[in-house]
Amino acid sequence: MDNKNISEDRKKYLRKIRINKITVLITQIFVLIAFIILWEVLAEAKVINSFITSSPSRILDTFMNIKSNNLMMHLWVTAYETIIGFLAGTILGIIIAIIIWWSEFLSKVLEPFLVVLNSLPKTALGPIIIIWVGAGTPAIIVMAIAISLIVTVLDISNGFVNTDKEKIKMAKSFNATKWQLLTKIVIPSNISTFINTLKVNIGLSLVGVITGEFLVSKAGLGYLIVYGGQVFQLDLVMTSVIILGILAAIMYQSVVILEKIILREKK
């Protein structure tokens, strides 16, 4: 549509959409601020016990002392483990999905195993992982991979199998090899499957890393949370949880930005 001559109705419509968007945003900010104020006021007035619930001002204090309690180091450890676990789980999952797509026999053989592994709570493997790879960073990364891998394999295999049959047939009529079908039709058809898998995996890897840190208890935000709980330092626990939330949001947003870049290149 031409920008110069927008009709009155269209202007009205656009304004309505903008106002709606702003109203939602303002309400969201208001809810957040109200919650924080209420929390602080109730803690100040001793209605709630700030020893158990902490309070925004105490969290801020912990935040300010970022150097003395080594928060940055723990944050970095968690971020690093999550990124490694995420990349390894995703890449490994994609490779396995390709192998399964390639061989129908293998796909049939593996199906029941994958279904069982998918419903098995991977945290149950924690002690085994620690015994096998030792109580350290490798165990935490393996935990993150364990949690995201099977879902990746299932989601991507599913996307591959559901590739438009007509497109496959069209390529086959040109005598395409299996490799050509994969690279020219199946993989490009599944860009949105890949992006969805990345979005799910970033969350799952974080779950795996935090669980791993709970068990291994050496460093990272997961360790800080467990440690803070054990010594009853709820300020530390709450601060770690908030930082974790911010970290999760940043990681998710990077996938969203990646998605936008990929989609723009396609257009």
């Binding site: 438009d164 007509e166 497109k167 047939k169 069209m170 390529a171 086959k172 009529s173 040109f174 005598n175 395409a176 050509q180 020219k184 039709i185 490009p188 058809s189 860009i191 396609k266 257009k267």
Partner: protein, 256 residues
């Protein structure tokens, strides 16, 4: 010997399934002459598309032989073009990248072949859209692009499997006309599967009627119009058209 470009001899196809076997094609014999347009019609599910898939080499036959230009062929031949119901254009590729897909897959993306493709694009009014994406094109243009993708590999015969049935009625009539004139100009033989009686009459020199499953050839009709410059649109106004329509309609009879 007449110059048959395609000969089918005793083609039989039996599908195996857990709960038994189904005979889809029963001893099909058919000759198609060079430059001829032949339509295949038959009750739905009779195995028309199976026949095309067998000729294209996408499905195996149980018995029988397929000859192309006098030589027996097995599997997928580089001289047979195949067009499906949906245009199958890849939405992440530009029109140009789409039409050279066949060349790319077959590993014959030479300068000469690319020039041939460019000429086809120019000739059939798609050249200025070659850097656009399929979603930016109309249904008719997409179908033309799909046709050029098939013609790029210079097939001797083109198989059309319900190639227009995904289009709306008006587009379909226009596309049929386009494809007809393009194929006539390029001198390409066409074997067309359709469920649409009028489409089969308007396009072809002969119409093959198949019976219900297992499909046998019930009859073959020559379609002749007493006119010059026949097109799929103007022949519809001729009195012969409705005569042929009645004839084919009766032969396709649901009881039959």
């Amino acid at each position: 010997m007449s110059e048959n470009i395609l000969s089918l001899k005793n083609i039989t196809k039996i599908y195996q399934a857990k709960n038994g076997e189904t005979k889809a094609l029963d001893n099909i014999n058919l000759d198609v002459k060079k430059g001829e347009f032949v339509s295949i019609i038959g009750p739905s599910g009779c195995g028309k598309s199976t026949l095309l898939s067998i000729i294209a080499g996408l499905e195996e036959r149980n018995t029988g032989e397929v000859y192309l230009d006098g030589e027996e062929i097995e599997g997928i031949s580089s001289e047979i073009g195949y067009m499906l119901q949906k245009d199958g254009l890849l939405e992440w590729r530009t029109i140009y990248k789409n039409v050279i897909l066949g060349l790319e897959i077959r590993g014959i993306k030479t300068k000469e072949n690319e020039e041939y493709v460019n000429n086809l694009l120019k000739k059939y009014h798609l050249y200025e859209f070659k850097d656009k994406y399929p979603t930016q094109l109309s249904g008719g243009m997409r179908q033309r692009a799909a046709l050029i993708r098939t013609l790029a590999i210079k097939p001797k015969i083109l198989l059309l499997d319900e190639a227009f049935s995904a289009l709306d009625y008006q587009t379909r009539i226009m596309v049929t006309k386009d494809v007809y004139s393009i194929l006539r100009q390029e001198g390409i033989t066409a074997l067309i599967v359709t469920h649409d009686i009028s489409e089969s009459i308007s396009l072809s020199d002969r119409v093959v009627v198949l019976s219900r499953r297992p499909a046998k050839i019930k009859n073959i009709h020559e379609i002749k119009f007493d006119m010059e410059n026949r097109t799929p649109i103007n022949c519809r106004e001729r009195p012969e058209f409705s005569k042929y329509f009645d004839l084919l309609w009766k032969e396709l009879d649901i009881n039959g």
